[in-house]
Amino acid sequence: MLNVKEMLEELKASPYEEIEVVTPHTGVVQFVGLKTGDRVAGPGGKWNEKPGTTLAALTREKNKKNICATQKGVVTDIAAELEGQFVEAGVRLLTIRHFLSKDEVIARILKKALYLFCAPERAKYYFVPEIDGKIKAGGEQSVKPRDGMEMFIVSRMKRETPLAYTGPEGIIYAVYFQQGDNVDGGQPLIGVCQESQLSLIQDVVNRVQGEWEEQD
């Protein structure tokens, strides 16, 4: 049995993720004057089209390339001794301490607590009418998937085939797709949890929503 509370405590003890920035290939390293404790931004813009803060430059064969931050956070532990040095691929340049947001915390907890049933291929997915009716009448949690239960209709290029659920028995915690929209292969369709854990998970999620302090 999963101890969700313990997980939350663990996250609270270290509410960040440490991202190690490593060299993608060989080259001469040149830092841009960042100091420990400096804040850096991740990719921005509506389409993430603006790259994040430049962290360092790597020059190989007279081809200078910038290495940019992939997440926002605070710079810790810069390998300043590498300045001007030729390095191999995979050498750590600095570390970014990225503080977790509420959504990221919840996503982490759910990832561990739920069983995600994913779409096998890109297609439109629907619940079979019986389950659809049940969800509409009694909410998502009224459906109890079990292994081999026929739950979905896969509609691809106007051809419809049934799809059976495979995985542990439980109840649907969340539905991740819109009926009639295209879902890429590998994307989660539903998240299933054990019935006994439902109230616990809901409680933790509510607590995170209420208590988690986001740090910039």
Partner: protein, 747 residues
């Protein structure tokens, strides 16, 4: 009551004056303000008679000073006048100039584009005792007096498409079109049918429209104005402006700023661009100026509407007469009309006969052909000019004899022989070709060497066929010893490429994802168009500075020195395999590939050359940033001018193919490039009307990063295909054989 109303009107007049003159200090405005305040302060103490006298005096003072202020208007003040919510709008004109009208392009906000107003209107004219209602199609931008949904007369692509549809309707019904230009510029979105493409389509269509067209300019903002303004007579309101770009836009470019430009710079740009009616009349881009009351026409200036009515009737009459000639009595009547008789008292039939309709189009072409000829440097000697003129005449005679007369009989004969051959075959008689030709390939014009390569077995022992790797011209970038990273490296995992490989053998194409790095125009000229063996013509036509735009002479001289070119356009005649073609290239290193009077003239001459010699015509856009703003309307007029030449060429049965490369934007794409039925792009090129920055500024919407990419343009239906750089020569040759009209010399 009466006094109150008159006082209110005076206050409104004052606030209008203050709007026009902006933040500028002006003694007359200050005096009017002071006098009005003084009067309002003392009004309660006056008797009725005294009030009447005082208000009368004030009104006289207002009229006097408005006349004085009229003389002080700067070009930017005129821009503020046409943008003022109290400015006359198209609906006021429909109400007051025409006798009856019905809106057909939608109604108010219930329209595909509320900014574009289309109406069937009538003008009543006397013929003896009878009244004749002459129908016209009225098309124009409606700014509305502050109606937000009109979008300030900035027309979306579908609004222009609607205008085009009703122009066609007018052509079918054989009624004249009156267009009224009230637009600051087109709305620059690429959604289908696309801002640039639709304006190009409109221009192309109008170039051959067989009904009289009269355009009246109030606010003529660049491409948006051209979309409906290619007319036989172009009139302009005296307080209007007609410009290649808004003064704000010019200032932003001039200042090279990301932020808003200062008001002083905007004023200066408005001054330099020569945008007023007077300037445009002097430069020859409009035919007549319609005088407005001091400080611009407003909806209650009824005398102005009467004048406008007279002028549009006169203009339409003149167009009709120009197309079908004058009878002796009518000529007399016209002379009387010039002597001051109201043109609406002399009836002129506005529907044209079929002969006159063709004449009308030819006259329209000649009219635009003659524009902006003074705006470039023609460095040819008198001898060269005479020789060119003579050669042109001889070619015309040659084409007439060879392609029109001789070829006609040849076609008939070969048709007859083919028919006989088919008859004999039907009878089961195996006969050789009666035409004595050697195979289907030869008839299509495939060169012998290519034919043998295609039809015989390959010889692997001779080594791989690497003909396409042997580039004649190598980019100087290939001499650098360094590696280059593909911009798609993050998403496609492309490895770094060594510059000598990339810019040499790979022809600037990423070996992993196929991204095309930009290459010099020389690469295309020599490797695709065989420039080494080509004949370049009109290189002596060079760009000038027709508006004496401050500081531009220096920039132009620098561009000429750096590139060794006289303009951004290179025109030459070359051969693709065995087929002779005329090619025009717009090259970006010369002032960003912008198009001005010299480029326009060179393009028209190249198109005419192709038409006379029955050659295919390729337009290669190595990159163009648009119309050269420093040439003002001399630049923007190239849009209709060149498009008309293109239309004439295509109608004559030619092949006009456009090839886009790197970045092609604005005016040229919205006219002579975009009107081609065969538009192809080199991979990784960008095509559009306005860049992302301009779109964000004018519409408030950001566009996704790859909005202008060739693949987006292809999926929007703007271009017909995307070609790999290394296959260009093959693809162009293929196009020569499979596309285009029937009047090419090799058909």
């Amino acid at each position: 009551m009466d006094i109150d109303k008159r006082t209110q009107q005076l206050a409104a007049r004052l606030s209008y004056i203050r709007d026009i003159f902006g933040p500028r200090e002006n003694a007359s405005v200050a005096l009017l303000k002071h006098r009005l305040e003084e009067f309002l302060g003392a009004a309660s103490g006056f008797g009725m008679r005294e009030l009447q006298v005082q208000v009368g005096r004030l009104e006289e003072l207002f009229s006097l000073l408005e006349g004085k202020l009229e003389g002080e208007l700067s070009p930017m003040d005129r821009v503020r006048i046409v943008r003022h919510p109290q400015r006359v709008s198209l609906k006021d004109i429909l109400e007051n100039v025409y006798d009856n009208y019905t809106e057909i392009g939608g109604q108010d906000e219930w329209s595909i584009d509320p900014g574009m107003l289309i109406a069937r209107a009538t003008i009543a004219r006397r013929m003896g005792k009878k009244t004749v209602h002459q129908p016209v199609m009225v098309i124009g931008q409606e700014k509305g007096h502050g109606q937000e949904f009109r979008n300030g007369g900035s027309i979306k692509p579908w609004g222009n498409a609607n205008a085009l549809y009703y122009m066609r309707v007018a052509e079918t019904e054989n009624i004249p079109i009156h267009t009224y230009v009230f637009t600051p510029g087109a709305f620059p979105v690429e959604d289908y049918p696309g801002a640039a493409q639709q304006i190009a389509k409109n221009l192309y269509m109008m170039a051959g429209l067989k009904v009289p067209m009269v355009a009246v300019f109030s606010e003529g903002g660049s491409g948006g104005a051209e979309a409906i303004a290619l007319a036989d007579k172009r009139l302009m309101l005296s307080h209007g402006y007609y410009s290649v770009i808004s003064p704000e836009g010019a200032a932003a470019i001039e200042g090279g700023l990301k932020d808003k430009a200062t008001p002083e710079l905007i004023e200066r740009c408005a001054e330099r661009l020569r945008i007023t009616a007077e300037d445009n009349l002097r430069l020859g881009f409009i035919d007549r100026v319609i005088q407005e009351p001091p400080l611009g026409a407003r909806p209650d200036n009824y005398e102005f509407f009467r004048n406008l009515r007279r002028e549009v009737i006169r203009a339409t009459d003149e167009v009709v007469h120009g197309a079908q000639g004058l009878g002796p009595l009518r000529a007399l009547a016209m002379r009387r009309a010039k002597a001051g008789v109201d043109p609406q008292d002399i009836f002129v039939r506005w529907s044209l006969g079929s002969g006159a309709r063709d004449g009308l189009v030819a006259k329209r072409y000649d009219k635009f052909r003659a524009m902006s000829r003074h705006a470039l440097h023609d460095n040819r000697t008198m001898g060269t000019r005479l020789a060119v003129g003579l050669a042109r005449g001889l070619w015309q005679v040659h084409s007439l004899l060879r392609h029109d007369i001789f070829a006609k009989y040849k076609r008939r004969l070969s048709g007859l022989l083919e028919q006989w051959e088919a008859e004999l075959r039907a009878l089961g008689l195996g006969v050789g070709s009666l035409l004595g030709r050697d195979g289907a390939g030869a008839r299509l014009g495939v060169p012998k060497e290519a034919l043998s390569r295609l039809t015989s077995l390959s010889c692997p022992e001779e080594g791989a066929c690497r003909a396409e790797d042997a580039w004649v011209y190598l980019s100087p970038k290939s001499r650098e010893d360094r590696t280059v990273t593909c911009p798609n490296a993050a998403s496609h995992g492309c490895l770094d490429l060594w510059a000598p490989d990339l810019y040499g053998e790979f022809a600037g194409v990423c070996a992993h994802c196929g991204h095309h790095f930009p290459m010099e125009f020389q690469w295309y000229l020599y490797n695709v168009f065989d420039f080494a063996n080509a004949y370049e013509f009109n290189a002596e036509l060079e760009s000038g500075n027709p508006l004496h735009y401050e500081g531009f002479d220096l920039k132009l001289a620098e561009a000429k020195r750096a590139t060794g070119l006289g303009s951004s356009c290179i025109t030459f005649e070359t051969r693709m395999e065995d087929v002779a073609v005329v090619v025009a290239a717009l090259v970006s290193p010369f002032r960003g590939g912008t198009v001005g009077a010299a480029e326009g003239e060179k393009l028209i001459r190249a198109i005419e050359r192709a038409r006379i010699k029955r050659l295919p015509f390729f337009m290669y856009s190595h990159g163009t940033a648009g119309i050269r703003i420093q040439e003002g309307t001399c630049g923007v007029i190239q849009m209709p001018r060149v498009t008309m030449a293109v239309r004439r060429y295509i109608d004559a049965g030619g092949l006009y193919l456009v090839l886009y490369d790197t970045n092609s934007y604005a005016g040229p794409v919205a006219s002579f490039l975009g009107c081609s039925p065969y538009q192809f792009a080199v991979r990784s090129s960008n095509i559009g009307f306005a860049g992302p920055g301009v779109i964000r500024e004018t519409t408030g919407v950001s566009v996704p990063p790859k909005y202008h990419r060739a693949f987006s343009a292809l999926s929007r239906g703007h271009i017909q295909g995307i070609w790999d750089r290394r296959d260009l020569r093959k693809n162009l040759h293929q196009a020569l054989l499979t596309m285009g009209g029937s009047n090419l010399y090799y058909r």
